[in-house]
Amino acid sequence: MASTANVLHTAQATPEAHQTDEIDQAHQAHQARVSVRHLTKRYGRFTAVNDVSFEIRRGEIFGILGPNGAGKTTTLEILEGIRTADGGEAFVDGLNVRRNRRAVQRRIGVQLQATTLFPELTVRETLRLFGAFYPHALSPEELLREVALEDKARAFPQNLSGGQRQRLALALALVNDPTLVFLDEPTTGLDPQSRHMLWDTVLRLRERGKTIVLTTHFMDEAQTLCDHIAILDSGAIIAQDTPTGLIGMLGASAAIECELRAGNATPNEANIAGHLAAIRTLPAVTDAREGAAHALIYTDNVEQTLVALFQFASQRGLTIDHLQTHAPTLEDVFLKLTGRGLRE
C-alpha cells in the first residue's frame, strides 16, 4: 500500500511544482485550466490590458471577443509566455506563467495572429522542426491530415494561399498534441468556406477533450463556437458569460431595424433621435437607439412592438422603410455596453 501511494505521489509531482511558487487555488478548487487575475500591461502611458481577470474551464472553448485594439492579442501573448505582464498573475494548469514559462509552453499550442514561417523550409520540414522543440510531437503527416494540407507537404510557405497558410499555422499549434490551444483571430482574412472549415476543426478539437482559447472580433464566430465569452474593450473586460447569458442581458427577444422618414425627407433629416424617447415608451420595448441611418428597437415581444410602431409612425406622419427583425446578437450586446459596434 505504501509503495502505491509513493508511486502516485511521484507521478503527480512535476519538477516545476517543486519550485517555490504558488499553485493556483482555483486550479485545485474549480479545475480551471487557465486562471487570470488582475492582469495589467502598459506601454508608456497607454494601458493595453487593464486589470483583466477570468477563468477557463477544462474542455471548453473560451472566447475573448472585442474590437481591434481591445487588447485581445496582448492578453493572449501574456498567457502564451511571449509577453510579460506589468501586474497581476496568469496560471496555466496551476503553473505561474511568468515563472514557469518553458513548462507552460511545453504543454500549450499557439497560433499567432499572423504566422510567418521560414521561407526556405518546406511545410513538412517546418512541422518537423517545430516538433523537435517538444518532448513528444505528432508526425507531419498526421498534422497535415488534420488540417487537410496533405498535398502541400513539399510546398514552400510563399506558394500557399492565405487560407492554406492559416491551416499550416493551426497545424503548428497542434504539433505537440497539446490539450490547451490558443488561437489568435484564427479566421481573420479567410473566405467563408475556410472559416467554416476552421470552425469544424475547432469543434472537433473540443470533442477530443482539448481546451481552446480564441480571440475574435466576429460575433458569429463567438456565438457559434464558444462556451464562455469575455468581452474586452479598451483593455478591460466589460462582460463575461455564456453567449446565451450575455444576450440575455439585453432582456430582449428580438431587435427591430428600420428607417423612419418624414414624408419626402431623407431618413437623416427625419431626426430619428427626436423620436427615440417616444419609441422607448412603446409596449414591450426594452431599448431603442439610433444606428447609421436607422432605428434599432429592442423588444421582448416583437408582435406587440411592431403593431405599436406602425401606429406610432402613421400618427407622426412617418414612413417605415427597410424593416428587418433579427434575434439579438453579441453585436447588440457590445453596442449596448459601449455604444459602438464591434467592427468600428
Binding site: T116, E120, L129, F133
Partner: protein, 372 residues
Amino acid sequence: MTMKAFGAMFWAGVTMLRRDRVLLITSLGLALISILVFGWLFTSNGATALNLGVVDQDHTAVTSQLITGLKKNSALKVYQGTQSEETQALSDGHRGAVIVMPANFGADFAWGHATLQVYYDQSSPIEEAIAHAAVQSIVANLNQSMQSAQSAQGGHAAASVVTLHEQAVSVRSLRQIDWLTPGMVGMLLMWANLTVGALLVGWRQQGILRRLAATPLRPGALVGSQILARLALSLTQGIVLLAVAMMLFKVQVVGSWLALLATMTLGSLTLLSIGFVIGAFARTESVAQAISTLISFPMMFLSGSYFPTDNAPAFLAPVIKALPLSYLNDALRQIINNGADLTAPAVHGDLLILAAWLLVALLLSTRAFRWA
C-alpha cells in the same frame, strides 16, 4: 530534449542556408569567379613543357649526344648555361629542374660509372614530380641504350651506367593565383558571415522570432545552432574554393591544414559576431543589409583580398589596420603561401587581433540585440 531542439534547429539552419541562392552567389560564387578569371587570364606558368636547365661541364661527344637527345624530347624545353646561371634560374622559378653533367662524365660513362647531378624545385611537388619523371626516363633510356650497345659487343651489361644525385632546391615562386587564393578565402568568409545580422533582423520583423518565442526553444539554442550552421557552411565553401584552386591552378597549401582550418574557423566566428552587431543596431532587415554591404565593399578591397595594400597612400593605412579582414587574409597567406603553422608568431598576432574583435563584437551584440 534540448539537444534534440538544438540539433533540429542546426540542420534546419544548414538547409535554409543551402537554399539561400543569393548568399551562395555572393560568397562562394564571387570568390570562385574571381579565382577562375585571375587564374586563367593571368597564368604565368602556362607552358606544359618542363623547363630543363642543362649544365655541360664535360664538353665531350657523350654529353653533346645526350644534350641533343634531350632537345629532341618535346616534353622538355632545354636551356643551356653555366651552373651558377642555371641554378639561379631554378631559384627564380624559371626552371623545373637542372641537370649538371660533371667534368669527367664522358670518361666515367665509358667506364660504366657515371653520375649526373640533378637539382629540383621542391616547393612545387607537382613540378618536381614531372621533372623527376622526365629525368628518370632520360637516364633509363641512356642506360638501356648503353646496355644494348654492350650486349651487342658481347660484353656483360652493367645494371645502370648513370646514377642520379638528386638535390632539392627550395624555390619560392609565388604566382599571382597563389597570392590571390588566400585573399579569396578571406573574402568568401566575409560575405558568408557578415549578413547573419540582416537575417536575424528579418526574422524578427516577420514575426518568426515571436513564433519561436512561443515554443520551448531557448534563445541560446537558437543563436548557437545558427552560428554553427553558418560556420559549417563557411568552412565547406572555403574548402570547395581551395579544392578548385588546387585542382585547376595547382595552388598549394604549404602550411598545416590544422592551422588553416583553425584560422578559417576563428575568422568566420569573428565576422559572424560583427554581423550580429550590425543586426543589433539595425531596425529593419533592409537597413542591416545596407550596412553589411557598406562595410563589405571597402573591406573587400582595402584588406588585401584582391591586391596588396603595402603601397596604399598613408591616409588609408589606419583604415586598413582597423579592418579585421586584413588580419585574416594575412594569417591565411602565412599559412597557405608561406607554410606557417600554429606556432608561427606572424600568425599569432593576426589570430589575437581576430579574437579581440570577436570578444568585443560578441559583448556588444548580446547586450544590444532586440529579440522582439
